[in-house]
Amino acid sequence: MKLPFTATSLFQQGPHLEILISATRVEVNEGRAIGLEFPEMSVRALVDTGASLTIINPQIAARCKLKQTGRQKINAVGGEAGEHPEYAASIFFPGSQLPSMDTIRVVACPIIRSPFFSCLIGRDILRNWLLKYDGRSGEVEILI
């Protein structure tokens, strides 16, 4: 998957893509059978090699009715470690060949430093990808 950037836009915004987040497939299918709806959301996600885990804004967890499965200690730059809720989610990459992630844990934590984004794609997802980043040309490619 090639991401369409210029050298300038890549420098200013960082590598990002549109993703779809929802509850897991099992929840969506079983929920539908008993009249529960699990909305999905399209959000802009920053590919963030500095994030150990994938982070979402808390509003996404609430809107998509993600199921909380625990809490995680997160330490952001310049801040103290804090505990934040962890949820199970599905992540899809529309318009690409990248395989979806049916059940992945995400942590809900306000992304204050990057209001342009609602999700940080962390190294838990990146461990499945080969990421090519050419800051000179603006070319970014994700391979599996």
Binding site: E30, D48, G50, A51, S52, G70, N75, A76, V77, I104
Partner: protein, 77 residues
């Protein structure tokens, strides 16, 4: 205490009570706990979550927690 901090309080107490034993018997595995029921150990988060859904249902509440001797603090740079 805020409601968020109460979430999984009972399950986390169970986890702490058994942690020393589980670090020996199931290091790195993911345990599923609902209320006081220990539902099993799984090699990854996905398997643990699906097992939790299967046992407690879509509307059930359960904790999925990896067995560590020291709780990791994840960094966001």
């Amino acid at each position: 205490m805020p409601a968020e901090e109460k979430t999984f309080q009972k399950e986390l107490t169970i986890f702490e009570q058994h942690k020393r034993e589980w670090v020996q018997s199931h290091p790195g595995d993911f345990v599923v706990i609902a209320d006081e029921t220990i539902a099993g150990f799984y090699q990854d988060y996905e398997a643990a979550f699906k097992a939790g859904l299967s046992k407690f249902g879509v509307q059930g509440t359960f904790l999925v927690k990896q067995v560590w001797a020291e709780e990791p603090v994840y960094l966001i740079h």
